[in-house]
């Protein structure tokens, strides 16, 4: 093990990073900001553009045409097939995640409209077990993809995940195969898959559905990668470049299509959906907006 001081800068998501109370310090500018103002802007600091993590429900509320989102598979939850116990039994961890996040799983799925276009969507939430993908999350995402195929509509997945859910062992790894196989069928049906990478998207999620988008978008500053910075540093003894594994690093290397501000995400998705699926100009553009 190496305990020397890291010389790289990587973003990490911790509970304290998520604003609580009345004021928060903006990590981008150092200025003190009103939480209310951040919350009103989908957790984006208006002046600096810094993106704080956004929960799945809050994202869904702003993403879809009002009242159009219908949740699916809300009763799909994690099980404990390995009877996994580390410092505490896995089922107790799950109960804690449910309680703390108010969510049934690390991903919320459903169908809804974005500027009038029907889509099937899966939106991950980092607060539930770090967005780790177990069998329940894999099942929900696979069902969302299968729903898109059945309804002949595009599929959008918002990723936010530390990777695989270790407590489900090999089954969590197999969710990568399950979701990717479903995306093979979606591609065969010539239906668009848009993958949106948010902070952070790592490990098994990056190495499966998240990088299989026909179009891949990322939020500014999001940490996106396969191996964690610590593992890379310990294995290779390399000094990691500043900004390594950020959305900006991926764009520069040609690995993603665009970096999109959360405040523009809905409109940008509508443009892409209209181009790839509806194949006519979006009403917003036709009306001279954008």
């Amino acid at each position: 093990m190496h305990f020397d001081k890291p010389t790289y800068t990587v973003r990490k998501t911790k509970k304290k990073d998520i604003p609580k109370g009345v004021y928060t310090k903006d990590p981008a500018s150092g200025e003190i900001i009103f939480n209310k103002e951040v919350e009103d802007n989908q957790m984006v600091v208006p002046k600096s553009g810094h993106h704080f993590p956004l929960g799945a429900r809050a994202r869904i509320a702003k993403l879809f045409d009002e009242g159009s989102f219908v949740e699916m598979d809300a009763a799909v939850r994690s099980s404990d097939p390995l009877n996994f116990v580390d410092s505490q039994p896995y089922p107790e961890r799950i109960k804690r995640y449910e309680r703390d996040s108010g969510l049934p799983e690390a991903v919320i799925c459903g169908v809804g409209k974005i500027h009038g276009v029907d889509v099937a969507a899966a939106v991950m939430d980092f607060r539930f077990c770090g967005g780790a993908m177990g069998a329940a999350a894999g099942e929900k995402i696979t069902r969302a993809i299968e729903a898109a195929i059945a309804k002949k509509i595009p599929c959008i997945v918002f990723s936010a995940s530390g990777g695989a859910r270790m407590q489900e062992g090999i089954y969590s790894l197999m969710q990568m195969a399950k979701t990717s196989a479903a995306l093979g069928r979606l591609a065969q049906a010539r239906l668009p898959f848009i993958s949106v990478l948010t902070h952070p998207t790592m490990g098994g999620v990056t190495a499966s559905f998240a990088t299989l988008g026909d179009v891949i978008l990322a939020e500014p500053g999001a940490l996106i990668g396969f191996a964690g910075a610590r593992v890379i540093k310990d294995t290779t003894k390399q000094t990691l470049p500043v900004g390594f594994q950020t959305a900006e690093f991926l764009l520069k290397h040609g690995l993603i299509d665009q970096i999109v501000s959360r405040l523009e995400m809905r409109d940008r998705l509508a443009e892409i959906l209209h181009a790839l699926h509806v194949r006519r100009k979006s009403p917003a553009r036709a009306a001279g907006k954008n």
């Binding site: 799909v76 177990g134 990568m176 195969a177 069928r185 990088t211 390594f244 690995l255």
Partner: protein, 326 residues
């Protein structure tokens, strides 16, 4: 010169007995006294102890055997069970990854495509093979060869043996995640029979990147896991030395994986592990591969793809409205 014998911690009592046996034999020759009875007794003891140790291996001990430096590697098996292996190099874009190799071969007279993760035996080869950790180019070469196999109707046989895909700056910059992800999707759609066999280490996404096949076989002492036991111990137990506990909790050994439905068959190894008799291990593998190839040839076209999709569709256990499902 013979390579120095590598003794695993749990094999040490056995090593002591073997030493005693050698001494007795030497003594018998030097003094010209017949120690046949004593020698026979120790031989019996050795066999009994070997059986005892190897029928009660812990998951962590199996991980040690899977990583044994004398364990047969992928190309050792290819040499033992196939003929005329023609290595086909490179991803046609950036480089040739020597940790993930492939090419055509003949298996029991039939042409097949081999995809293999390969570790190095000596220091020089270990470095050339990057300790069996493939880079994006390895996965892209594998996909090129799998598509070629589909084009010419060759079954694909993949040999899995990796601690994981290589974690490095260049690997990330050339998008190892995408290389693996594309393989998962394309292997699920490949219109030719596919079989993978975990010959040593099945290290996470790096293993799965050539592992989405119709059938998955595994050697008795190999392991297949979402994370290394050391990595899991460091994260969940905050203690790298808790690896034996993590290995047990992860249910990563062959017998568990078969019960979980992730592997289709466990290939038996000779007493003491595959390295004690590679030819015997290879014989068992050859038999199993032929059997599964015969099964798969009966499933043509759409039926093959449908069966493969369903195989992965139901891996994992979850609850739906309180009912446990998979």
């Amino acid at each position: 010169m013979e390579t120095p014998t590598y003794v695993l911690e749990f094999e040490k009592p056995l090593r002591e007995l073997v030493k005693q046996l050698d001494e007795l034999r030497q003594q018998s020759i030097e003094t010209n006294v017949d120690l046949g009875t004593e020698i026979h007794a120790i031989e019996g003891k050795i066999e009994a102890m070997q059986r005892d140790i190897y029928s009660n291996l812990t998951p962590w001990q199996k991980v040690q055997i899977a990583r044994h430096p004398r364990r047969p590697y992928a190309l050792d098996y290819v040499g033992l069970i196939c003929e005329s292996f023609q290595e086909l190099h490179g991803d046609r874009q950036f480089k040739d990854d020597q940790a993930l190799v492939g090419g055509t071969a003949f298996f029991n007279g039939d042409a097949v495509m081999i995809i293999a993760q390969q570790k190095g035996r000596d220091t020089k080869e270990k470095i050339a093979r990057n300790f069996g950790m493939p880079q994006p180019e390895g996965y892209r070469k594998a996909l090129r060869l799998m598509r070629m196999a589909e084009k010419f109707s060759l079954p694909v046989l993949t040999f899995i043996d990796t601690p994981g895909a290589f974690p490095g700056i260049e690997s990330e910059a050339r998008h190892v995640s995408e290389a693996i992800a594309v393989n998962l999707r394309e292997m699920a759609m490949l219109r030719t029979p596919t079989i993978s066999v975990v010959v040593g280490e099945g290290g996470s996404g790096g293993a799965l990147g050539i592992g989405v096949t119709d059938r998955v076989l595994i050697f008795e002492n190999s392991y297949y896991s979402v994370i290394s036991p050391e990595g899991c111990a460091a994260i969940l137990w905050k203690d790298g030395t808790a690896a034996p506990k993590a290995a047990a909790a992860l249910k990563l050994s062959a017998d568990h994986l078969e019960k979980l439905g992730v592997v289709d068959e466990v290939i038996p190894e000779p007493l003491g592990g595959a390295h004690n008799d590679p030819a015997q291990a290879a014989g068992a593998l050859k038999y199993a591969l032929q059997k599964h190839l015969n099964d798969l040839r009966a499933l043509a076209g759409e039926k093959l793809l449908e069966t493969r999709y369903e195989r992965y569709r139901h891996l994992g256990v979850y609850e739906d409205a309180g009912v446990v499902r998979s």
